[in-house]
């Protein structure tokens, strides 16, 4: 008997062991289904401008004039929505914008940026108060943000603030009453600010609470300023605090830009400024990001090798009755880049008056993207636009060429052959008036407006006219 029990036990144990060793356990189990509902949070904020209060400077009972140069002036709150000189302030219900009209020196408006965290999670928010249009007038304003005054402010970006769900903007700044803001045109503002307009935009940005925002832990303020000399202009361009620079007098010396630039505008106000973009002092390339030069009345802009990024020249007038340089540099905008450079250039709404003396309106050696639109190019001695070397995409649109000796040419550097575009060519909506065809450099005896084949990318050639007659790309000389 014992032996059977023992044998049975042994067998059982052996079976168990074999099960442990290699087989799948069939354990005691039980299961049940539980549904899990996941709701993701949402981040949303509602903001607006509220509580506008108007003030105007009033002379005191003795009729004395107060100004900010030594004597304190008194702002008197105005009833209703009118300033002392009849200017008005109102919130446009359609746009949410505060609209100020006919503001005069000594007028001020205070208001609050208010809003609520409509998210169902805690968030961080910051706001940006910036001029988007009308820097002339904005340069005369004094802007107050959270109690701090900034003259000629171009943009203010706040630090990040924490905000619980359903809480009001400004909880940690103004006890939930919103962010206090003010704009004033000070008494000292002169006639240069007459009859102007400006638009300021407020943007509120929200991120979830645990986002890493430590790279921007303080408010950032950018300014509008002026420059009177080449040195001053270069210094102010190099400043991170400056966004927009006005030039109010001719600057005879060349302004050398040999450093990186980001988000800069030079507004020359119709004055003469000579700009030269080159590598930095150590021979390293520079990068221009969102750099705009406008309202020039000048002879030339030079761009040397080692300039990358994007540069816009707008609303400017170029003219000269004397040559600007030797072959390749006798051009209003002369770029002599390197094949490794990566520059995109836009030239828009400019007038080039070559007077039969200047070879090219725009000349570029090696450029990644060239856009010339809505310009007038008059009486160039040679091709209105010439490219050399490595050329990318060209967009030539909406221009009027008058009396030019050829319109568009590309040539291999140093060679006399036709050049090519590695990218696309758009030539559209251009008008030719009394222009002259030039002899093709690769097909002697053949006179063309355009000496640029092949184009390796696509060609868009539409709606161009020559002396009021529609012109085809074949007529232009385009065979590609």
């Amino acid at each position: 008997m014992k032996k059977r029990v023992l044998l049975s036990a042994i067998v059982t144990i052996a079976l168990c062991l074999s099960l442990i060793a290699g087989s799948t356990f069939a354990l005691f189990t039980s299961d049940d289904d539980i549904d899990i509902t996941l709701n993701s949070g949402h981040v949303e904020i509602t903001a607006g401008l509220t509580d506008p209060v108007l003030y105007s400077v009033q002379p005191d009972a003795a009729g004395e004039e107060f100004d900010e140069n030594g004597k304190p002036y008194s702002y008197v709150q105005q009833p209703g929505n009118e300033f002392a000189n009849g200017g008005t302030a109102a919130i446009d219900p359609a746009t949410g914008y505060i609209v100020l009209e006919r503001v005069t020196p000594g007028d001020k408006i205070t208001f609050n940026l208010t809003g609520v965290n409509d998210s169902n999670v805690r968030v961080q928010y910051r706001y940006k108060f910036e001029c988007v249009e009308g820097y002339d007038l904005m340069s005369g304003f004094v802007t107050t943000v959270e109690g701090n005054k900034y003259a000629s402010m171009a943009a203010y970006t706040s630090e990040w603030h924490n905000l619980d769900e359903n809480s009001n903007i400004g909880t940690d700044v103004n006890n939930g009453a919103g962010i206090p803001l003010a704009i004033e045109l000070p008494v000292s503002a002169g006639n240069i600010y007459k009859d102007l307009s400006a638009t300021l935009k407020l943007t509120v940005e929200v991120v979830q609470m645990n986002a890493d925002t430590t790279d921007t832990d303080a408010a950032v303020v950018k300014y509008i300023t002026t420059a009177q000399s080449a040195t001053e202009l270069a210094d102010k361009l190099a400043s991170d605090e400056i966004l927009h620079i006005f030039v109010r007098n001719n600057i005879p010396d060349t302004v050398n830009v040999n450093f990186n630039l980001t988000d800069k505008t030079i507004d020359a106000n119709g004055k003469s400024v000579h700009l030269s973009f080159t590598k930095d002092a150590n021979g390293k390339p520079i990068t221009l990001e969102n750099v705009v030069v406008k309202n020039l009345n000048t002879k030339t802009i030079n761009i040397a090798t080692g300039v990358n990024g994007d540069l816009t020249v707008a609303d400017s007038y170029f003219t000269s009755d004397t040559k600007l340089g030797s072959a390749g540099t006798n051009a209003f905008i002369a770029g002599r880049g390197d094949a490794n450079d990566n520059l995109s250039m836009t030239v828009e709404n400019c007038i080039f008056d070559a007077q039969g003396v200047i070879d090219y309106g725009v000349y570029f050696m090696n450029i990644a993207n060239l856009t010339i639109r809505d310009c007038k190019i008059n009486n160039t001695k040679s091709w209105a636009i010439q490219g050399n070397g490595t050329l990318g995409n060209f967009v030539i649109s909406g221009n009027t060429f008058t009396g030019c000796n050829g319109i568009l040419k590309g040539a291999i550097r140093g060679g006399a052959g036709t050049g090519s575009l590695s990218g696309n060519l758009t030539f559209a909506n251009n008008k030719l008036v009394n222009c002259i065809k030039k002899e093709s450099s690769t097909n002697s005896g053949n006179f063309v407006y355009m000496n640029l084949t092949p184009v390796n990318g696509t060609i868009t050639f539409t709606n161009n006219i020559d002396n009021d007659v529609v012109i085809t790309k074949e007529d232009m000389g385009m065979l590609g």
Partner: protein, 191 residues
Amino acid sequence: MFRYKNTNKKAFIFAALIILICLACLSGATFALFTSTNDGTIGVVTTSGNLEIDIVDTSGESLKGKSLEFVTLSDDYQFEPGATFYTQGFQVKNAGNIPVNFSLSVSKDDKIDMKEFDEAFEVWIVRVDDENFADAERITNFKGRLEVGKNSETYCLFIKMKETAGNEFQNKTYTGIGVTVYAVQGNAPID
């Protein structure tokens, strides 16, 4: 022997797989945070006022840069001691879009020898509405206020050669006598 469904082990493996996948996501992926931007719907649009004044004739034509014509009392309008002549009427116009305080005064060009001129002549402004010019108030410096688009009263400029002007003033010509209007915005006093 009954076999039981090995659900727990599968549940354990499934859970383990989920955790592994999540860990893979956390370790290598880019965070796409929840964000929102209230952009472009709030701001301030502003225009500044335009202060502009003009001097116009009684028909509203601008006289800026022009000469005031004399309204002659006789066909011969050359000055002689005791002679008084006056000009056409003119008004100050607020051509801007804000009210202004203005001053109106007789002005004399820097080129004039003041001492010599003042020795021989008197100049003053008169309101044209004053019927009796002889007794009219003589204005040398007037201050007033003009609302937007309004014109002032009509004035004219009187010039009299003094009876005491001697022969040394014969055959002389003087230019640069006129009126100057100075204006400031309406909430500022005018000096």
